[in-house]
């Protein structure tokens, strides 16, 4: 039983254990408490932003309204993300982006260092928002290019504005000359030159951002792709919104028009927290989908249904459930066929599932990307526990059955091989000797011999001829040589030649495995014999091979007697065909006559 031998190696496969957690769905009371907290914290953070704006509310209510939307949305998204496992740092980034954005408009206070820090604060807010976007849903997903890009983005955004600010005097920016400011180099031309270099650089970085998101979404699969889709869709809006300011400055817009840009920009950038919120909702819906699917499968937990439910729930069509079949001491797939572990060089997430008693139940292997969604995974595994247990029992039985089938098939194949060998031995051994003996006897029959001696020689020759005929009939009964020599089509043609009724046979001329050919041959012979009994005048035999199954149809123009049983008509044939994993069906044709269809697997 070497094909099951790999079972002993199962423990050497790298496994990632994800224990099914007994996470309970939130009760209504705790859910509403959670929502109140979320709202309260968001309100506090938004109020903090609104306070920081201060005089902006009077100077430019439009800009203030746009920006408060920005801060409110980022704060809300951050607070909600805080409750998602594994996203706390990203949540902090979003909240900070909202607060720094507010700080960016604190210049209107015109006190202390506020005018000095407001410029860098805005750009820092945008950089933090971009960094949060790339970190979601898992920082591990960041490609090297993306890591480098985020640094370049921060460098150009924050570094650029710092360079511009540190080489300026406050009055060049429209502030009072005594405003708190740090000036390293006060050179007007140099300062203008920095701005001239910086704007196109900023536009370039925005283009790079857009390109990276296109590449990123194309790279993602399954749940990751679904979670990142809202951000990918938002990225063109973000690019336009962020790009609007440097482009407007390049175009030399000022005053009211510029204010409109400043008002619309943060409002448009609110798509970032919106995308985060959609992703969070999607993730939670995915959890629910898992539960729903698993609940559905509980009703009819077949090995295949459980696997399909897990594939659908986890959005991974490559997921495999290999059930433990204790009797075989091996794992089997959903059909009960022995199933080995994934190849050593294949990166798969391998999750052994055990019964509460510690008995092995199944091993699930899935796309390694699912490692990033431990919650969805553990929910799915926890929810499918009972269904898995039921399915495992069925799979174990299926496995036993498929093993019995395999043994039965081997027995049939061995029988065919043995009969062929016996036929060949009879033909090439005894038959050849007897034939040669006849020749020697015939050659010995000389006129010089006495008549009595010649008569005895002839009698001996006669007897040997009879023995040869008997031997040939015996050999043919054991295995028809023409079948192994010329194939099914030729062998059936030879049989058809000998029939008293009209036989029209069109069978594939190609060769099939010996067991398939022999089974088809004897089945057709048996069917022809049954056709004689009810007085058929014509038999049509058709055959074709598709997907490794040889289908044989025998149609005859007489009806089968009512109530006749397959087994009595074709003794032993049903067993033989089934032993090869095939089946036979009989039907009565409305135009008269009957049809037998047999499917015989090829090997």
């Amino acid at each position: 039983m070497s094909e099951f031998g790999w079972a002993n190696r199962v423990n050497t496969v790298r496994t990632t254990s994800i224990a099914p957690t007994s996470q309970r769905p939130p009760t209504p009371a705790s859910a509403s408490r959670q929502w109140s907290r979320t709202l309260a914290v968001t309100a506090v953070l938004t109020a903090s932003g609104a306070l920081i704006f201060g005089p902006l509310w009077q100077v430019s209510p439009d800009v203030a309204a746009g920006s408060i939307l920005f801060t409110a949305m980022f704060s809300g998204a951050g607070v909600i993300l805080w409750d998602e496992p594994g996203h706390r740092r990203t949540a902090v980034l979003l909240v900070l982006a909202g607060q720094f954005w507010a700080l960016g408009w604190s210049e209107e206070w015109a006190i202390g260092p506020l005018p000095f820090i407001s410029g860098p604060a805005s750009y820092l807010a945008l950089s933090l928002a971009a960094w949060a976007m790339f970190r979601y849903p898992d920082p591990a997903l960041l490609s090297r290019l993306e890591r480098v890009f985020v640094r370049i983005l921060a460098g150009v955004a924050v570094g650029g504005i710092l360079a511009e600010t540190l080489t300026a005097r406050p009055q060049w920016r429209g502030y009072q000359p005594d405003t708190w400011w740090i000036t390293l180099i006060a050179d007007r031309e140099f300062n203008v030159a920095i701005g001239t270099v910086l704007r196109p650089l900023q536009v370039l970085v925005i283009g790079g951002f857009l390109l990276l998101w296109v590449l990123r979404i194309r790279r993602m699969r399954g749940l990751d792709r679904e979670l990142l889709a809202p951000m990918a869709l938002a990225s063109p809006v973000i690019a336009v919104a962020v790009g609007a300011v440097p482009v407007a400055k390049l175009l030399g817009l000022t005053g009211q028009t510029m204010d409109r840009v400043y008002a619309l920009q943060p409002a448009a950038l609110a798509v970032i927290p919106l995308a985060f919120l959609i992703s969070v909702v999607r993730r939670r819906l995915a959890d629910n989908a898992v539960l729903t699917l698993i609940q559905q499968v509980q009703r009819r937990p077949t090995p295949e249904a459980v696997q399909t439910a897990l594939r659908t729930a986890l959005r991974d069509a490559t997921l495999r459930v290999r059930y433990w079949a204790p009797e075989l001491n091996a794992h089997v797939d959903v059909t009960g066929a022995p199933a080995g572990p994934p190849a050593e060089d294949e990166d798969r997430l391998v999750m052994p599932v055990t019964e509460p008693t510690g008995e092995p139940l199944a091993v699930i292997d899935a796309d390694p990307g699912l490692r990033r969604h431990p919650l969805v995974l553990s929910n799915a595994l926890a929810a499918s526990g009972l269904a898995l247990e039921n399915a495992q029992l069925q799979a174990a039985v299926l496995g036993r059955l498929s093993q019995v089938r395999a043994v039965r098939m081997q027995a049939v194949q061995a029988g065919v091989a043995e009969r062929r060998r016996v036929e060949r031995d009879l033909h090439d051994g005894a038959q050849q000797r007897l034939l040669a003996l006849r020749l020697v006897l015939a050659a010995s029959d000389r006129p010089q011999l006495s008549e009595a001696a010649r008569e005895r020689l002839r009698q001996m020759n006669q007897e040997i001829a009879l023995a040869l005929n008997e031997l040939r009939d015996l050999a043919r009964g054991i295995h028809p040589a023409v079948l192994s020599q010329a194939g099914l089509s030729a062998a059936i043609d030879a049989v058809a030649d000998q029939q008293p009724i009209e036989v029209e046979a069109s069978l594939p001329t190609g060769r099939f495995p010996a067991a398939t050919e022999e089974t088809a041959y004897y089945l057709i012979c048996a069917a022809l014999k049954t056709a004689e009994a009810p007085g058929a005048s014509r038999v049509i035999i058709r055959g074709h091979e598709r997907d490794g199954v040889l289908t044989i149809e025998v149609e005859q123009d007489s009806r089968r007697p009512a109530g006749s049983r397959l087994e009595s008509e074709l003794p032993g044939m049903l067993d033989r065909v089934r032993a090869l994993g095939g089946d036979i069906m009989f039907s009565t044709l409305s135009r008269g006559g009957s049809l037998m269809v047999a499917a015989i697997p090829c090997g």
Partner: protein, 219 residues
């Protein structure tokens, strides 16, 4: 007359050689398989090669394969296939590329030295040959008994001889008829049985055999 023979049984070859020597046929080449026979055949130059259909290495249809190779080497060498099976499939395969000098005989019948010698002479002369037992079985089992019943007794005799591979001259000699009479009978038979009147002797055996076998005439 010189013949070559290939059969994996030494005993059988010995018996056949003994038998043939009695009727003045010399065995110029003996081989235990087809390959061995092909190696020596050009030098031995036999008129006819006697081949067992089942020979090493696979014991299936090496005889037929060897026959095809002999045709490539020298179409003038006759081939007599010996088979223990009365299967028309093999005969049809042997005649598929022309039946001149090709014969199919049951191994059981080779002890009849007169028939064997007659067969070798016919094959050496480029005629074809189908074992009479096989033709009997074909005619007896043919599902076209109605059509056969429409033939006269003489016509049936001629049909049998044609199925055995005889040319018009051969049929005339066996049935003691004039050449012209045989031609008339042949035309009449082809008309009644609706066999395309191929005057080419080389194709005639196959046409008649096919008609008897399947009821449909292969073109």
């Amino acid at each position: 007359m010189k013949v070559a023979m290939a059969d994996d049984s030494t005993l059988f070859r010995g018996g056949l050689r003994l038998l043939l020597s009695q009727v003045g046929v010399e065995v110029c080449l003996e081989a235990s398989n087809g390959e061995e026979l092909l190696e020596g055949i050009e030098q031995a130059r036999p008129e006819v090669a006697i081949l067992d259909i089942r020979m090493p290495p696979t014991f299936t249809r090496e005889g037929l394969q060897t026959a095809a190779r002999i045709r490539e080497l020298d179409p003038g060498i006759g081939v007599l296939i010996l088979s223990t099976y009365a299967e028309t499939t093999y005969a049809a395969e042997l005649f598929a590329n022309g039946s001149a000098g090709r014969g199919y005989m049951l191994k059981d019948r080779v002890d009849d030295v007169g028939t064997l010698r007659d067969a070798l002479v016919r094959l050496a002369a480029g005629e074809s040959l189908v074992d009479a037992t096989l033709v009997d079985s074909l005619i007896g089992h043919s599902r076209r008994q109605d059509a056969l019943a429409a033939l006269t007794v003489r016509e049936r005799q001629v049909l049998r001889q044609m199925a055995e591979g005889r040319s018009n001259a051969g049929v005339a000699a066996v049935l003691n008829l004039s050449h012209k009479t045989v031609e008339n009978y042949a035309a009449s038979i082809f008309g009644k049985l609706d066999i395309p009147a191929g005057s080419d002797d080389n194709r005639r055996v196959l046409a008649v055999l096919s008609w008897l076998r399947a009821g449909t005439v292969s073109s």
